[in-house]
Amino acid sequence: MTSRPTKRHNYLAEIVGGAWSIAKGMAVTFRNALRRPITENYPAQRPAIPPAWRGKMVHKRGEDGRPRCTACMACQKACPSLAIVEIKGDEEKGRERRATSYVWDASRCLFCNQCVEACPFDAIKLGQEYGMIAESRDQTRFDLPELLEPAEEGEP
């Protein structure tokens, strides 16, 4: 409380000051009420996803239409959370080898990009898809056919 002699004067000043501060606050809310809402009406309106977005893993295709992945396991070694479960390749060696199976577990993935940066062949990327829904644990694992990006026109 304020000191005695100025108490009455401060009392009134406090009331007026308090009321004025409340009025200023109400002016702010009023101004904002007139602005358009920023809500995006999902799912009718979808957000614009930038190209850098790290979503569902996508396997890129090479010039010949085959996946670039050579099953070198560099991504699996780089992954912090054991999200790349199993990689199998064909009988070829070195650069000629191609992956035949690549199981990625979305429920373990941190989407941290370590695998993408570790890959020496630029075979994978974390793509634009954000809406991965699974109704049971086994639906969180994806194999190569689901992860491979769609083929170009006229490719095999």
């Binding site: 109400m26 702010v28 358009r36 920023i38």
Partner: protein
């Protein structure tokens, strides 16, 4: 253009009735029941609309859209959906609770809120009963819900609900005093407790809010009503984010819905009564009186909602301090000023 015309309808009906040799009391009974049903239905529909309005207004203020799915782009049937959901919830009565009081408490809170609509003039010819003691009736009946709060807290067999109920009761009772004093200012200015006279004294645009010092009474009425409604900034009794749970914490489903509907019905009443006392009730050019009444009432409601979404909450001791140290002296001073200055 006066309130007696409403009574005129009943009178003419009574004459016709007695003209056919039927006893008057049967008509009275039918009339009462009909009035009760009409008032309840009107209030319930208004409450449905009000809950939707609150959500839409809060959405606008907060840069978002309110309900927009149920019943079309503006979601008008959202409240209906919520009410249906509440109906389907399991009805739990806590073990060790006082069953009779537990079941009765929501109604003790809700019914007086319906009862006060007896004296609200929706239009120049639509007032259920223009009691000679209109304002006193409102004051008396408005005191009942406090008992209901206490019953709810006590019967819940939950020490936190009890604490919450005690706080709610203390807050409600403390704010009743400046509320009543604000109403007294209007009574002094109009010279009568009768609603018809109060509206009559504001005829031809001489609304009480334009008369000094009734502006202060208007502000007092609004602030104390917000505290009675337990809305922010006075919503500590209901605020679950503080330590103590609210007084209605043990209530589920439809019982809780009754508290909730009661709160919004009370909001509608507060705004309607405010229009009656200060804004000239149904007076206004061109449009029919009932429309003007609703327009003014909803303007007051929008202001109350606006305040709710702007301000933070006060602590319980600050709420009590505000009532006793600021509002009661201010209300007393306004009554004094009104009797010196503002009589008609």
């Amino acid at each position: 253009m006066n309130v007696a015309a409403g009574i005129g309808t009943y009178q003419s009906l009574l004459n016709w009735w007695q003209g056919h040799g039927l006893p008057g009391w049967i008509l009275e009974a039918i009339w009462m029941v009909a009035m009760a049903v009409i008032v309840t239905v009107v209030i319930l529909i208004s409450v449905l609309f009000l809950i939707w309005l609150e959500r839409k207004v809060s959405g606008d203020i907060q840069s978002r859209v309110g309900p927009n799915r149920v019943g079309g782009r503006f979601g008008p049937l959202q409240t209906v959906a919520d009410a249906l959901k509440l109906l389907m919830k399991e009805d739990i009565i806590p073990a060790g609770a006082d069953r009779a009081i537990f079941i009765l408490a929501p109604f003790v809170v809700f019914v007086p809120t319906l009862l006060v609509f007896l004296v609200v003039p929706f239009s120049d010819r639509w007032i259920v009963k223009d009691l000679n003691l209109g304002v006193l009736f409102v004051v008396a009946v408005s005191a009942f819900p406090v008992i209901g709060l206490f019953m709810a807290g006590w019967a819940s067999n939950n020490k936190y609900a009890m604490l919450g109920a005690m706080r709610a009761a203390a807050q409600t009772m403390s704010y009743e005093i400046p509320l009543i004093l604000a109403m007294v200012c209007v009574v002094v200015a109009a010279g009568s407790l009768r609603i018809g006279d109060i509206v009559g004294a504001q005829r031809d645009g001489h609304w009480f809010i334009l008369r000094f010092p009734l502006q202060i009474a208007f502000l007092l009425y609004l602030i104390t009503s917000m505290a009675e409604l337990k809305r922010v900034p006075f919503d500590l009794p209901e605020a679950e984010s503080e330590l103590v749970a609210g007084y209605h914490v043990e209530y589920t489903g439809m019982r809780f819905a009754i508290f909730f509907i009661g709160e919004f019905a009370h909001l509608f009443f507060v705004a309607a009564f405010c229009t009656t006392l200060f804004l000239g009730a149904w007076e206004g050019p061109l449009l029919p009186p009932a429309v003007w009444f609703l327009v003014k009432t909803y303007a007051v409601i929008l202001v109350i909602m606006w305040v709710r979404w702007t301000l933070p909450r006060l602590r319980i001791d600050q709420i009590m301090g505000f009532a006793w140290k600021l509002l009661v002296p201010a209300a007393l001073a306004t009554v004094l000023l009104t009797s010196l200055v503002g009589t008609s």
